[in-house]
Symmetry: C2
């Protein structure tokens, strides 16, 4: 599915397109999902803050040179209004060879409604110690 | 200044009140700044995700038992619309005795406009290696 079509969709669809672009190391497809605003922010796990298209594009270019990134965003918690969607997800990635993970990655993804559709304005990831916890809230409440 | 008065202010004022409450270890004052929504999210540096008032309040209670937290949010980059403000800041904290810091803390603070005024819906912090960089963009552009 071309990125252009996805841009007119919901924040959820832009999020799916974002992780899909990572899995295909599709730099142009990924960058087209960001808002046309020089105040966009991207923070990779454990890394310094990147601001604006040039710095963010350059970082993903370096990452994709090492290959694609296979992440499944799980345990979504969201708050949203007509103009903004704030998503908190756990980024589930490929387990190591011994099947153990002593850290997990948390992401805050913020989407804003623009004249071109929903776009990413913030991607902030961080490393948390320990395995990803079970989502007790989601396990007991369907919504 | 009582927290109640600050709640009717702007997102910037709520952010100032948030860090002020930390500096006074004022648990009730801090919690009053959060949105009345069980989907609120707080991620402390290097820690797992906390969702909802009870878990978030409990974490700050534990932190404040060890004393107040003196942080100055600097190098603000923001995107906002009528209903939401997304702030990215560097959390400048007290330097160690030898004056060296080999990490810095980044925070994403998201504020939403509610019937009671602007409130916090997300506080996501992460540890970044190295000293906080100079903000080249801010250094060259006044806005």
């Amino acid at each position: 599915m071309p990125a252009k079509k996805q841009l007119i969709g919901s924040a959820d669809e832009v999020e799916a397109a974002f992780y899909d672009a990572m899995s295909r190391a599709d730099l142009d497809g990924m960058m087209a999902l960001w808002a046309e605003d020089e105040e966009i922010v991207c923070i990779h796990p454990g890394a310094a803050r990147l601001i604006g298209h040039a710095a963010i594009r350059s970082s993903w270019e370096s990452i994709f040179e090492r290959g694609s990134v296979n992440i499944r965003p799980v345990q979504l918690h969201a708050t949203h209004n007509m103009l903004t969607a704030v998503h908190s997800v756990i980024e589930e990635f490929q387990r190591t060879a011994d099947g153990k993970q002593d850290v997990h990655i948390l992401a805050t993804n913020v989407y804003v409604k623009t004249p071109h559709g929903w776009r990413i304005t913030m991607h902030h990831t961080s490393v948390a110690s320990g395995k990803a916890p079970l989502d007790m809230f989601k396990a007991s409440v369907l919504h």
